[in-house]
Amino acid sequence: MLPGIDYFTAALTPLNIMLALGGVVAGTIVGSLPGLTATMAVAVLVPLTFAMEPASALILMGAIYTGAIYGGAYAAILLNTPGTPSAIATTFDGYPMAKRGDGDLAVTLACLASVVGGLVGALALLLLAPPLAEVALAFGPMEYFWLAIFGLSLIAALSEQSLLKGLIGGCFGLLLSTIGVADISADVRFTFGSKTLLGGIEVVSALIGLYCVPVLIELVATADRHLKVEASSRGFRLREGFAISWRGKINLIRSSVIGTLVGILPGAGGSIAGLVAYSEARRAARNPQDFGKGEPAGIQATESANNATVGGGFIPTMVLGIPGTPPDAVILGALMVQGVRTGPNLFGQEGSIVYTFIYGLFLATLLMLPAGLVIGRYAYRSIVTVPKALLVPTVAFMTIIGAYSIRNNTSDVVVMIMLGVIGWVLGRIGFAVSPIVLGLILGSIAEQGFVQAWTIGSATGDLAGMFFGRPISLGIVALTLLSLFYPLMREFYARRRKVKEENSYGE
């Protein structure tokens, strides 16, 4: 018997179904526009929810949130630009698939994966919330530090063409992450006296710049069409999509679990979840060399993981009153304004609100299937058929609006354009942008964790125990080493095989 099943019917009022559907559609559209994030989508909506019942308000916000995370996949696949930071790793295989004419299939796969991830995350929230909240608490500064280092070690896996260039890119990203007022030490760093740089490099505007601007420049600089046009309409390619998803079911489930777990950790978020799931999918795959060249399993991993963070993130939010992700912080705030108290008692005293919400989240996730497929189809067709002369200015306009609206700051637009040009130049000389983005996102997490762990370790006189005596930390360190040496090991074996072959020729 599922807990709070009585509330299932409460979630199914016509109003709630309408809110869930409307929320998913609105969220998907907002999430698909680069720069308009899930946090913003939810924040804009908050005043509307004041007049609603708490459970309905939550359903609407949860639906928008989950839709926005999925919507981020469209821009990632069709424009090589993550619509939200969660979709960074979706670009790796999504865009190559679109380039070869399989964009429609990629969008369908993303939709199916998002639904699976969303359901797994919501199931964890329903069944395991209190024990899983303990996971959030087991992660101290040291664990966050090692988690960030683990994320950085993915650079090695992501930049097989040139490890050195990947590392240089990562260092450049780390350097960018130190600009502005430091989060915990409050020092003003590397602003060169400019007001603009006080707030640091905004991650989302950096994403838009680094990923989207080079695509735009290439579109203008070459005569080719943006994406291949298929002569006949092939529908949703749903049968194909289902078949691939079924074959990748282990990958989908593993990635959803990773996404749920990372989602539980406050401050980690969908971008890390997607990257970790991607790297694990690649490590487990029989064909790791196909990743990054349009391998469906790459999309499945990221998209299931990032939607699983939605349910995962609600776990600490509801059980501990600590928001798991930035959109959760907004939702928590909205609940407080309504006078609802989160915390351990929420599941008991306010059971009607919590369970109605959780079942509403299931409902929204399921509605994402039809809604997501239809919108995805429309997005694909319009991106493919629209003439370049219209596509480029429209997307360019969107990038500017997107970069501006993150913090209502024109200087973020300037930073976006500058980073875009840098990204384009670097791309021409063989540098990938993803290591830079990893450095930028993970740098501040690593720095905070390190400084805090060091301070606590020195105060208690146990620095060694702090860095190397914590079991979860050690587990992450082991994963990091594996991820670092994996490409080298593969190269080693490949070379040995080659040597053997050459020797056999010699005989």
């Binding site: 946090t39 989060d183 007001k195 707030g199 705030g333 909205a334 905070q448």
Partner: protein, 319 residues
């Protein structure tokens, strides 16, 4: 007939308004007012603004639109406040001790006196919080332990040079102890570290007690009198430490805003603050009310600046 009566009523009301209100502000506000929060959504500054929103609309019929301009711990927003038109339609949230400490540390694009604060409407009092199952039942337990183990009591808190940090410095001095303060990014992260037992205790806020409920215990609150939500938690004053502090929030307007309009806005915020329902809502979130109108602002800020500067110098946050 009915229509006529209501029409007459409206006319009378309008007339009385014209008679009492200053000439410049007859129709203010006659369009939505933008309320810029120099932090991201979901923080306490956002939540208090959200609380004000419906009351503003009810009392002054126009909408109060909350916008965000995060970055640099508020510095990005504050350094741009005076670029806005001083027509009464742009408000910006201001926070103490941020607007005092930050410009003293380094050039962050604004000086404290650049900000025209018209009202300080509440504060979130500092409090020492421990996990519910902690051995420290009273503040004295914690002080005794800290005296025996100098530097080994580790506090989490939100940021460096912030209300939490300065409270820790002031308290260490008052109690004659030496403790370690570990800054975290925001109150949420500081609470996570506390509940996860990464630290001994937290220099947090009364709002932590409201949000985390029976997972935590507050040992003392930095208020003049006990908080209505927590009648069992003593104040530092009661226990013999002269410490009243917290994160203070107010509203500022661009410098070009005319004097009369500044006063009028101050009155409006005061009216929202006076609403018993509004007070109840903020207190339920663990916050404490404060009423510093425009005319008292200079004296208030002067006093706060002296206190904060002394503590920040002590901490080495300032040179």
């Amino acid at each position: 007939m009915k229509t006529f009566v209501s029409f007459a009523g409206t006319a009378l009301a309008a007339l009385s308004l014209t008679l009492t209100a200053p000439a410049v502000a007859q129709s203010y506000p006659d369009k939505p007012v933008n309320y810029i929060i120099p932090f991201g959504p979901g923080g306490e500054s956002d939540i208090t603004a959200r609380h004000q929103q419906p009351f503003f609309q009810k009392k002054f019929t126009e909408e109060l639109v909350v916008e965000y301009k995060p970055g640099g711990g508020g510095a990005v927003g504050w350094s741009q406040l005076n670029d806005y038109k001083g027509d009464g339609y742009t408000w910006m949230g201001v926070n103490l001790p941020h607007i005092i400490i930050k410009p003293l540390q380094k050039d962050v694009g604004f000086k404290t006196e650049d900000l025209t604060t018209v009202y300080m409407f509440h504060y979130t009092p500092d409090a020492i919080v421990v996990p519910a199952d902690s051995d420290f039942k009273t503040l004295q337990d914690l002080i005794d332990h800290a005296k025996e183990n100098p530097g080994k009591v580790v506090f989490s808190g939100s940021g460096k040079g912030t209300a939490n940090h300065i409270a820790q410095i002031r308290f260490d001095k008052l109690a004659g102890v030496k403790t370690t303060y570990v800054p975290f990014k925001g109150t949420g992260a500081a609470v996570t570290a506390l509940l996860g037992k990464q630290v001994t205790a937290e220099w947090g806020y009364t709002s932590v007690g409201a949000k985390q409920g029976d997972q935590v215990r507050m040992l003392a609150v930095a208020m003049d009198a006990r908080h209505p939500m927590f009648p069992d938690v003593p104040t530092f004053k009661e226990l013999g430490f002269d410490l009243v502090s917290g994160a203070y929030r107010g509203i500022a307007v661009p410098k070009s805003t005319p004097e009369e309009l500044r006063k009028q806005i101050s009155d409006m915020i005061g009216k929202i603050n006076a609403d018993p329902e509004f007070r109840k809502r903020l207190e339920n979130d663990g916050m404490a009310m404060l009423d510093v109108p425009y005319e008292d602002m200079d004296a208030f800020l002067k006093e706060m600046t002296e206190t904060y500067t002394a503590a920040a110098k002590e901490a080495g946050v300032l040179n």
